[in-house]
Amino acid sequence: MPIKVLFFASLRERIGQSQRLLESDMPLTLQEVWQRSSGESHLPGNVLMSINQTYANASSLVQPGDEVAFFPPVTGG
């Protein structure tokens, strides 16, 4: 089961993709998922992230099959 990685808003535009599937048969940290999916080694401090639509942090563990997202600070309301 691949990890589904989503990017939103200005981060989606900067990374140049909205979604990609990452093959892994073992757990990865969100930091590792970022590096493998974004093509950027540095995870900016203001990037927010979620696992299965719940907020998480860079050291949180991602399982194969999970849905992960990276996005900039939110500006709704």
Binding site: L48, Q53, T54, P73, V74, T75, G76, G77
Partner: protein, 146 residues
């Protein structure tokens, strides 16, 4: 009673509340209702804004709003709480967000409404992209302070 709606279509918040409350009549426990409506302004950070697009994270948006509403209902013992939020293309003067809470007492209603609005602004996955008068677009990179 808890209710969350994420919608593309414009809405009138007062008509919405009139209809919602007629469909969900509250008993006479609820002495206090506090409401906030956020509307698209035609200016931001000194520039004239002619249009706005609201991107969101389908699925997580609803989950996050439901989590925030449930936490507020519990923390302030609310009788009901409602959040409606637009996504997609929004024109100036159109409502973007409606937050309404019903409580026995006014302090709880005011506190819950304001807190729900602040946590929504800081954690619900929405992103505003503004169109300026010269046709250029920009992502809003931070919210105005609450």
């Amino acid at each position: 009673m808890q209710y969350v709606e994420v919608r593309e279509a414009p809405f009138d918040p007062w008509q919405y509340l009139a209809e919602w409350q007629s469909q969900h009549p509250l008993d006479a426990r609820s002495g206090a209702t506090a409401v906030f409506v956020g509307t698209m302004r035609d200016f931001n950070e000194g520039d004239d804004v002619t249009g706005m697009y609201l991107e969101h994270y389908p699925g997580m948006t609803e989950r996050q709003l439901e989590t925030l509403v449930a936490a507020s209902v519990q923390e302030w013992s609310l009788d009901a709480a409602l959040v409606v939020h637009r996504v997609g293309e929004i024109a100036p003067a159109q409502p973007i967000v409606l937050v309404a809470v019903w409580s026995a007492h006014r302090a709880e209603a005011f506190d819950a409404c304001r807190h729900l609005m602040e946590t929504l602004k800081h954690t619900a996955p929405f992103w505003k992209r503004e169109t300026l008068t010269d046709g250029s677009v920009r992502w809003v990179d931070k919210n105005t302070p609450g």
